[in-house]
């Protein structure tokens, strides 16, 4: 029935063409570009500078800052986002009623564009008439300057809050799906041995989530390295003075406002390398357990 040697290629070639032209080719060119110095976006004769762009970047204070900001965000995401997701999943796993309601609502922020979420949080944080300050006024408190650029730590945390909040539901669903897969027998045996629900979660369920945890950690790290929309909207251009840049937003600024295409290209290469290294590191630290 399916003997033809030509037909499969007729079906596959359009897809391959798209992927080569718009993904593989530009990816390759990007690596090549990272060794050149461009004077404009369409510079026809860029100058070969070797690793100069990379060196420039590493010496750039704002780059280092954006890198550190991103690393802190990775930490926050792993502890707060993945942690909250795990706790919520364990709790929903305990109950019998309303679990689908929780699933639907917890997941909801993920489908909304980060642009809308960013603008929404701006409306919450706004000094004059924002939601938070109205709440304070309603309970008889004074208005508070939430996004005060002088308090960098607070502004950083508030900028990242929606980043963390948005994806809790995503990891929650992954954990919950895995928890539903744990065999009843194991849990019943533990119950007969007099294990409390809390103890069951700590000594049976969480260890059995090891492989899923590994996937989640890799996804959380690689996803966080790419964060762009929310910080770009809430603290544009790393406001104040580039101090709140993350990798994504600083790379964007480098490329499209300062016209340093070569530097931006090497920036992108560094981001990809960082992603690969982090994933490899996670996979070594959290070894795959073939027994579960």
């Amino acid at each position: 029935m399916y003997k033809s040697k030509i037909m499969p290629w007729v079906f596959i070639i359009p897809t391959l063409a798209f992927i080569f032209v718009f993904l593989f080719y530009p990816f390759g060119v990007n690596i090549y570009t990272s060794f050149f110095k461009f004077r404009s976006v369409l510079d026809q004769n860029p100058e070969f500078v070797g690793l100069h762009n990379y060196v420039d970047l590493i010496k750039d204070d704002t780059f280092v800052r954006s890198f550190v900001n991103t690393l802190i965000l990775v930490g926050l995401v792993l502890v707060l986002q993945v942690g909250t997701a795990l706790i919520l999943a364990l709790l929903v796993n305990q109950i019998t009623k309303l679990s689908s309601l929780f699933k639907v609502t917890f997941f909801m922020p993920i489908v909304i564009s980060a642009t809308a979420l960013g603008l929404m949080f701006n409306l919450f944080y706004d000094y004059d008439y924002g939601m938070f300050n109205q709440l304070l006024l309603n309970i008889g408190e004074e208005k508070f300057f939430w996004m005060d650029p002088a308090n960098l730590v607070r502004r950083y945390l508030l900028t990242m809050l929606p980043v963390i909040w948005q994806y809790v539901g995503f990891y929650f669903i992954i954990f919950l799906t895995a928890l539903y897969g744990i065999s009843e027998e194991v849990l019943e045996a533990a119950e007969i041995d007099g294990c409390s629900d809390f103890k069951k979660a700590i000594i049976i369920k969480i260890p059995l989530l090891q492989n899923v945890m590994r996937t989640v950690v890799v996804l959380a790290i690689t996803g966080t390295l790419k964060v762009f929309d929310l910080p770009h909207i809430i603290s544009p251009n790393g406001y104040p003075s580039g101090k709140l840049h993350v990798l994504g937003t600083y790379m964007y600024e480098k490329a499209f406002s300062s016209n340093q295409l070569g530097v931006a290209a090497s920036f992108a290469v560094i981001m990809v390398i960082a992603g690969v290294l982090f994933s490899a590191l996670t996979n070594t630290v959290l070894k795959q357990n073939k027994d579960i």
């Binding site: 399916y2 040697k5 037909m7 499969p8 290629w9 079906f11 596959i12 359009p14 897809t15 391959l16 798209f18 992927i19 718009f22 593989f24 530009p26 990816f27 060119v29 990007n30 570009t33 976006v41 369409l42 909250t84 929903v92 305990q94 109950i95 309303l98 929780f102 609502t105 917890f106 997941f107 909801m108 922020p109 993920i110 489908v111 909304i112 564009s113 980060a114 642009t115 809308a116 603008l119 929404m120 409306l123 919450f124 706004d126 004059d128 008439y129 109205q134 995503f170 669903i173 992954i174 996937t215 996804l219 790419k226 762009f228 929309d229 909207i233 994504g248 499209f256 295409l261 992108a268």
Partner: protein, 277 residues
């Protein structure tokens, strides 16, 4: 007794988080129906006496004409979905039904192409689009988005078509159907659920994208909804609260409606697409 207390505690925690995920959207929705004064004076009230559609009128038909951005978004994301699904069905069909040399390599290439973050291709892509003369045009967003979503849709559909028995097509072939008739009259109807999962996911991903759209489409008339929303906020964000809440509501409402009707497909699709770049 102890059980009851701990259950109450669990439901309280879960309800609190639910409030934290749902209330922000309710707040936006309620305020979008109020005039500016009641938004800035009491944003927690329910708009009964102060109900107005002025914010929506201003957002959709005022200076920024968001209705046009809607159309732009649907043209862009609609085209992306149609082309991706069509090509992915063909590719998945070939990958699933034919034995040929290089199949493994192609599968590897598809997987690899899901790993590229948009950052790592954007600069050469931008220059390529300029040379092709489609920088600033819908096509300049549509073509890269097609490429970015193809692998995901293909892999999802290949898995599904693999699970369909070949006997399904046999009788159609015996009746003299050609290969395209088999694909569209046998495979596609049987793979409907996987195709809709893939289509919804591709749509969401394209509709919610900001980075590519904002770099390629600089002309306000051509901006899809995310890019225009950001444009509005950079000009009016701090002052025109009514317009801002209505604009945020407008971008979220179609997706929320879609989500409430199709949440099973969406959750499944997004989980499958998790490894995508």
């Amino acid at each position: 007794m102890k059980r009851k207390i701990s259950n109450t505690l669990i439901y309280t925690v879960l309800a609190t988080w639910m409030f934290g995920t749902v209330y922000p959207f309710i707040w936006v929705l309620l305020n979008s129906f109020k005039d500016k004064n009641s938004i800035i004076n009491n944003s927690f009230s329910i708009p009964i006496t102060t109900f107005t559609l002025d914010n929506y009128r201003e957002a959709l038909f005022g200076r920024y004409e968001l209705w046009r951005a809607y159309i732009n978004s649907f043209i862009i994301s609609g085209s992306v979905v149609i082309v991706v699904i069509l090509l992915a069905v063909f590719t998945a069909f070939a990958m699933s039904r034919y034995q040929f040399k290089g199949k493994k390599i192609i599968f590897g290439l598809l997987i690899a192409s899901m790993m590229f973050p948009i950052f790592s291709t954007i600069f050469p892509l931008f220059r390529m689009l300029v040379r092709l003369g489609i920088q600033g045009e819908f096509l300049g967003v549509i073509l890269p988005q097609i490429a970015g979503n193809l692998a995901f849709a293909t892999i999802l559909l290949t898995g599904f078509i693999n699970s369909l028995p070949k006997e399904l097509e046999e009788s159609a072939f015996i009746d003299g159907a050609n290969i395209f008739q088999v694909i569209f009259k046998v495979i596609v109807p049987n793979a409907k659920s996987a195709i809709s999962s893939a289509a919804i996911f591709v749509f969401l991903w394209s509709y919610n994208d900001l980075f590519l759209q904002m770099i390629i489409l600089k002309d306000v008339d051509k901006m899809p909804i995310s890019a225009l929303l950001l444009e509005i906020s950079s000009k009016e964000g701090g002052t025109n609260y009514g317009l801002m809440v209505a604009a945020v509501a407008l971008i979220a409402i179609p997706i929320l409606v879609l989500y409430l009707f199709l949440q099973k497909h969406i959750i499944k699709g997004l989980l499958a697409g998790a490894i995508k770049g």
